[in-house]
């Protein structure tokens, strides 16, 4: 998916949801039936924390020379969102994942004698976006900046390179526990950093709590 198309997709989403929200607001103004649970929920400033397991797509460049490859990693994230009385809730999140690692054998070359290149892939992901709660499901779309960190060690020489491509995320959460100001979700996510050829799926648990509440809804 090109970044332009991803952005277009998100704008399309926003337009569709905006139109739906307008229609819903008009319905409410007309006095027609509305979702009583939504209208009863107060708006809030919500903080969230996610911890999960990531699975990174893609392969090392030289699979035949790669003696070990681990694509399962750990991802954690902190976020802040505005939980509105409408069904679109904006958020911003910052996450870090230790995504993958590998050992690749290199022959003799201009770098000297043969040896093993230890590779580690990590990513910071800063993403604004929107969520929408539908019954106990929470849909999530976001686009932001990924800071991809590639750490290598070869012949005891450690080195880190970074790249900062745009990235997009798509997620589906399921709310399994809820109290007045606290919620616990299971989350499935897909994150793609187009320019760096890094994409990963994620399964995690998200804890969300209201930091501030604003009145009793609209």
């Amino acid at each position: 998916m090109s970044l332009g198309r991803a952005a277009l997709s998100l704008f399309t989403v926003a337009a569709i949801l905006g139109a739906a929200a307008s229609a819903r607001a008009a319905d409410t103004a007309d006095g027609s039936a509305s979702d009583s649970s939504t209208s009863a929920a107060p708006s809030s400033l919500e903080v969230s924390a996610l911890v999960g397991m990531s699975v990174t797509q893609g392969e090392p460049a030289y699979t035949a020379a790669t003696t070990s490859f681990r694509r399962v990693g750990v991802y954690s994230e902190l976020g802040v969102g505005y939980r509105s009385s409408y069904f679109i809730d904006p958020f911003i999140s910052v996450g870090y994942g230790a995504l993958a690692s590998a050992d690749t054998k290199l022959p003799d070359g201009e770098w000297g004698s043969a040896g093993t290149l230890h590779q580690n892939l990590g990513v910071w992901f800063i993403s604004p976006g929107i969520t929408s709660d539908i019954w106990r499901f929470r849909l999530r779309l976001g686009i932001g900046i990924a800071i991809v960190k590639e750490s290598n060690t070869f012949h005891s020489d450690k080195n880190t390179a970074t790249q900062k491509p745009l990235a997009a995320q798509l997620g589906l959460g399921f709310n399994c526990y809820e109290t007045h100001r606290f919620r616990l979700d299971f989350d499935l996510r897909y994150v793609k950093a187009q320019g760096a050829d890094v994409s990963f799926g994620l399964f995690g648990v998200t804890a969300r709590g209201d930091l501030l509440t604003f009145g009793g809804g609209n």
Binding site: M1, S2, R5, A6, L8, S9, L10, T12, V13, I16, L17, A19, A20, A23, R24, T56, Q57, G58, E59, P60, A61, Y62, A65, R71, F87, A100, A102, T104, L106, G109, E110, W111, G115, L117, Q119, L121, S132, I134, L139, L141, V148, K149, E150, N152, F154, H155, D157, N159, T160, A161, T162, Q163, A168, L170, Q194, G195, A196, D197, V198
Partner: protein, 443 residues
């Protein structure tokens, strides 16, 4: 389904359906190596006899009404301006006395390719070739056979008849590969700046190659265009960052080019050009000032080696090839001045240079070529001025035939840098003016 679930479903489907689709590139091949596998390959000297302008008697839908045929080691190339097409063929004498010329054709900008199988039509000529002779071409020399689409067996008639000799081009007019045989968006199955695309460039009409030079973290010049290891050019889940952030070992261990090739060092690329091709020169497009001195050292070492080969008593190892350090801006020019001083202080012969932006600087700096961008126009007066000073002019980067025609006719340059080599070579043969042979100057 209520309004919001419908909206989000539509949005999610839209987002997922816009996933990138990559065209598979498949170069057609005869099963089991075709007839070439059963025959005796024609020698380099014999292949020269196939060169010329050929009328297309049958098959003009594929190659137009006239094509250029040139040869390189092991290859006979049919070059045309129709859809920038070409055919890359091999030639062999078969056990039954026929001479087959077969391989594949391709329109590189489209996913269109197929197989070609031709035979030397005249029995006398075929017999002479099979006797190891190299008969000179004549108007009777005809290649007749068939072509196909994709991997289908060739059945559509294709007949080429020799019409006239090629205009002089070796050492005269330079069709310069724009970091390889075709552009990054093409379907050639080779990545820009790879050894494979440089090999291909000769087979599709080039006699020199421009390559992009960047420095690794451990100061080794490698061929790569972008500062960042962008997804359009490389593969590998651990291939991230900038070229200058990684050592050569890290690059080699983490990245392949888009079609699985290694990222070559400049030294590897120049060695390959000298050893495996008949390319006459390389234009080292210095992307950073830091790369100038290391590149100049590699070029100087190669020139010293070639000089020793060409001055010894064994003419069989002679090889004329000139790497030129390309200077695109004032920062790189400053680095070039430093590199020159350093090499001269070390007693190393300074390699030739090319300046892209100022024709007057070409002469005052003692460079061998000027490499202006086409966007500044044909500039015929500057071309003449540079030529009068003993240097050549190579315009970059021309990929459209109408522009190529305009530059060939108005500027009459010494070469054109292109990603459409077959078209440029053919247009030069059709309408180009042969540049004068400049003694001592090379690309």
């Amino acid at each position: 389904m209520n309004t919001k679930s419908a909206a989000f479903t539509v949005a999610a489907l839209f987002a997922l359906s816009s996933c990138e689709q990559v065209e598979e590139v498949s170069i057609p091949m005869f099963p089991d190596g075709g007839l070439l596998r059963t025959g005796t390959a024609l020698s380099r000297e014999q292949l020269y006899g196939f060169e010329g302008m050929f009328s297309v008697v049958h098959g003009s839908a594929l190659f137009g009404t006239e094509t250029s045929v040139r040869t390189s080691p092991g290859t006979i190339s049919i070059l045309t301006d129709k859809d920038n097409g070409y055919a890359v063929l091999g030639g062999a004498c078969l056990p039954d006395g026929r001479v087959v010329v077969e391989g594949y054709w391709q329109y590189p900008t489209e996913v269109k390719a197929g197989l070609v199988r031709l035979f030397v039509e005249q029995p006398d000529t075929a017999a002479a070739l099979c006797n190891g002779e190299a008969p000179p071409p004549s108007v009777d020399f005809t290649l007749a056979g068939t072509y196909s689409d994709d991997n289908d067996f060739p059945t559509t008639p294709l007949t080429l008849r020799w019409n006239r000799e090629l205009k002089p081009w070796r050492g005269r007019f330079f069709t310069i590969a724009h970091h390889g045989g075709c552009e990054v968006t093409d379907y050639c199955g080779a990545s820009p700046n790879s050894l494979e695309t440089i090999r291909l460039s000769e087979r599709v009409g080039c006699n020199a190659a421009e390559v992009d030079v960047r420095m690794t973290r451990d100061a080794i010049p490698v061929l790569f265009h972008d500062p960042t290891l962008s997804r359009a050019l490389v593969r590998g889940v651990f291939c991230n960052g900038s070229v200058s952030d990684l050592t050569l070992a890290e690059l080699r261990g983490s990245c392949t080019m888009a079609y699985g090739e290694i990222i070559p060092t400049l030294e590897e690329a120049l060695d390959m050009m000298v050893t495996d091709t008949e390319l006459e020169g390389a234009y080292l497009d210095e992307k950073t000032p830091e790369g100038v001195l290391p590149s100049a050292r590699v070029a100087a070492a190669l020139l010293a080696d070639l000089k020793a080969r060409n001055e010894n008593d064994d003419p069989s190892d002679d090889r004329h090839f000139v790497p030129v350090v390309g200077i695109p801006n004032a920062d790189v020019l400053d680095a070039w001045h430093t590199a020159k001083s350093t090499l001269q202080a070390e007693g190393i012969e300074v390699p030739p240079c090319l300046i892209e932006y100022d024709p007057d600087l070409v002469l005052s700096e003692g460079c061998v070529a000027w490499g202006p961008t086409w966007t500044l126009g044909t500039q015929p007066d500057n071309v003449r001025k540079v030529r009068a000073g003993g240097a050549r002019t190579f315009f970059w980067t021309l990929n459209q035939s109408d522009f190529v025609d305009a530059f060939l006719e108005e500027a009459q340059p010494d070469g054109i840098l292109t990603g459409r080599a077959s078209m440029v070579f053919h247009r030069y043969q059709e309408i180009g003016i042969t540049p004068p042979l400049l003694p001592g100057a090379a690309p």
